[in-house]
């Protein structure tokens, strides 16, 4: 399968005259990244990152953390091909983790006379979904924690595959908009959906490292004699179980000086009744709609909605987990000189459609985040952020925690971009 992706990439880049360029093999090396240190006070449960039901990346209590040390290394050839490796390290509550989060080759062609441009990616990458996480090393620009929707993307949606993008630049056609279409075909995202189902929506900046496994929370169905006894205690979101190819389609219209509207459909096409070493295939499909709009007086609106389903079955094709889920946020940001103010509200839910005993995945919640960031100097940003989450999740009863819970987090952070 991987060979097919490589062939597609080579075909598109070679066919588009990579090797005809004047200084085709001259190379530039570029390093970028982010350091993010936080002092945080969290009013929650044990974090979901440690197998709890807490919705933040940090456990209940006060702590000083290395919230992100991220770096991107890029080799950029003059022929349009570039190679990128992104690594991230985290030290939250004395748990230190380091690893690769993305690694890919990219080809960017030149626009033709009509303004059409091909781009291609090959490797491990994020499907283009998040409008928040486009700073170096997938850091979120305006807030410290990403929305629940994009926290999930960072946790469970990453692929090994190929992405082809065709863009039509409006400036060559006297149009005040650019249009682009992308198609990704991929493998290695078969267990996606398990963490969302079992710990629910979360709000943090934590990205799952490519080889990382995330501890599952405790619930009755995992006990001996119940349906999920054979499930491994950690989920490994980026593995291939069924040798089937998934796809992500995306279309975007960028209106010059106004904003952009995009929509996409993701389907990992996993066989839901496969299980290997305790990792199940989860057939996960969702649609996302994304809007970024420049409002009067320098306000910028960002809003995204994601809605989909996930299905995991027993080897004899009985539904074990069958969930629908939705998450959407709306954020407003405004910069006044070195000061930036951001407010975000969001709503999320999981609807549990199966009857598996001891595995209630139902969830309904809402959250609000307020961020103030001061740009101390060009690379240094000092932020304070408050997040409030109010949710209903019956699964918390499996650990004797309240079904209705309000969680809060106050963070002071220093971020350095280089």
């Amino acid at each position: 399968m991987q060979k097919l992706f490589i062939l597609i990439f080579l075909y598109t880049s070679a066919g588009l005259s990579v090797f005809n360029h004047a200084n085709a093999f001259e190379v530039e090396t570029v390093f970028h990244g982010v350091l993010d240190v936080r002092a945080t006070s969290t009013d929650s449960l044990t974090s979901y990152t440690q197998g709890g039901y807490g919705k933040f990346a940090l456990d209940n209590g006060e702590t000083l953390s290395l919230a992100q040390a991220g770096g991107e290394a890029s080799l950029i050839w003059d022929n349009g091909i570039s190679a990128h490796v992104v690594a991230n390290a985290y030290n939250n509550d004395n748990n230190f983790d380091i690893g690769i989060t993305e690694a890919y080759l990219k080809y960017t062609g030149l626009p033709n006379e009509s303004g059409y441009r091909w781009q291609s990616k090959l490797g491990i990458f994020y499907p283009r979904i998040s409008l928040e996480n486009n700073a170096y090393a997938w850091a979120s620009k305006n807030t410290l924690n990403s929305s629940s929707m994009n926290t999930w993307i960072g946790e469970e949606v990453r692929v090994l595959g190929n992405e082809l993008t065709l863009t039509r630049l409006g400036k060559f056609n006297k149009n005040a908009f650019d249009v682009s279409f992308s198609l990704s075909t991929f493998v290695n995202n078969d267990p996606s959906g398990s963490l969302l189902s079992w710990h629910g929506w979360t709000i943090s900046n934590r990205q799952t490292l490519w080889t990382e496994r995330i501890k599952l929370p405790a619930f009755r169905a995992r006990m001996e004699g119940y349906d999920l006894y054979t499930q491994a205690s950690k989920s490994d979101p980026f593995i291939e179980l069924d040798d089937r190819v998934g796809a992500h389609l995306r279309a975007e219209v960028k209106f010059h000086k106004k904003g952009a509207l995009s929509a996409g459909y993701y389907n990992n096409n996993a066989k839901p009744y496969i299980v290997e070493y305790g990792q199940y295939g989860w057939k996960t499909r969702f649609t996302h709609i994304d809007l970024r709009w420049l409002l009067p007086k320098g306000f910028v609106l960002t809003s995204q909605v994601l809605h989909g389903d996930t299905l995991m079955q027993s080897p004899n094709k009985q539904d074990v987990v069958n969930n629908d889920y939705t998450s959407g946020y709306m954020a407003i940001t405004k910069r006044v000189k070195a000061h930036r103010f951001t407010a975000r509200v969001e709503k999320f839910n999981v609807k549990d459609n199966d009857t598996t005993l001891g595995d209630n995945n139902t969830e309904r919640g809402k959250a609000a985040t307020l961020n103030y960031t001061y740009r101390l100097s060009k690379p240094w940003f000092i932020s304070s952020e408050f997040t409030w989450i109010d949710s209903y999740r019956p699964a918390r009863m499996y650990t004797n925690n309240p079904i209705d819970l309000t969680e809060r987090q106050l963070t002071l952070a220093a971020r350095y971009f280089y």
Partner: protein
């Protein structure tokens, strides 16, 4: 095709800029036998207001001009934009692309015989001297899509851009018939131009007024003002 210039010292840079200024300001030579006729052109928009940065060039009709307006045209890449947005030069002249930003730019033009593509590293100047054809060269940056610049290559030594009063002064060294052309990529006329044929036998002033409103000039600004976005 491209020549890389060595890194200049500040002093050298100042001298180069000074030289460029001198050569740009003396764009109309007077080395022919006839007396000098000063042609003053006033460019106005549809509402009779002066238009700045419009390219005006004057071509002889029925006679030829032999001298060349030799000057290197400099097109800078500064603050992730083309500086200036509009440039004009005579066919055969060198064009120096000068990246004043601290990042790499990938300048290209996708159309016609003047098609080109160059990557320019921070602080680098690349000189291109093989433009083959007069006409409009629309340029972009393949890393920063909002960047947009235009160069007009003309086949005459008489050209200039209008000042803030919409004014252009051109010294013609020969009496005779001339075609005065005003060009701008956002001009709403056929071929983005309007022209007038005039007889010049003395210093004279003419007005060129647009018939339609101009299209909006691109701002060359990224809509996202965050400095640490992953470009790739």
């Amino acid at each position: 095709m491209f020549t890389k210039l060595p890194t200049l010292t500040l002093y050298q840079l100042k001298s180069v800029i000074l030289l460029l200024l001198v050569s740009v300001s003396s764009h109309a030579y007077n080395n022919d036998t006839n007396s000098s006729n000063s042609l003053s052109i006033n460019v106005l928009n549809v509402n009779s207001q002066p238009l700045e940065n419009m390219v005006v060039y004057v071509e002889p009709v029925g006679h030829t001009i032999t001298h060349k307006n030799v000057a290197t045209l400099e097109i800078g890449q500064q603050n992730k934009s083309f500086m200036p947005y509009i440039s004009v030069t005579q066919l055969g002249n060198e064009v120096a692309f000068n990246n004043k930003d601290n990042i790499t730019h990938h300048i290209y033009s996708p159309v016609g015989k003047s098609k080109f593509s160059i990557k320019i590293r921070s602080g680098q100047t690349l000189v291109k001297n093989n433009f083959q054809q007069a006409g409009e060269v629309s340029m972009g940056c393949n890393i920063h899509d909002w960047m947009s610049g235009y160069m007009l290559i003309v086949d005459t030594p008489f050209f200039a851009k209008s000042d803030k009063n919409g004014q252009v002064e051109i010294e013609l060294n020969k009496s005779g018939q001339y075609k005065v052309v005003v060009w701008h990529p956002q001009m709403n006329e056929a071929n983005n131009r309007m022209s007038k044929v005039i007889n010049v036998n003395d210093s004279m002033s003419i007005t060129m007024q647009l018939l339609n409103p101009m299209d909006e000039i691109p701002t060359q600004k990224n809509e996202d003002d965050f400095d640490f976005l992953s470009d790739y």
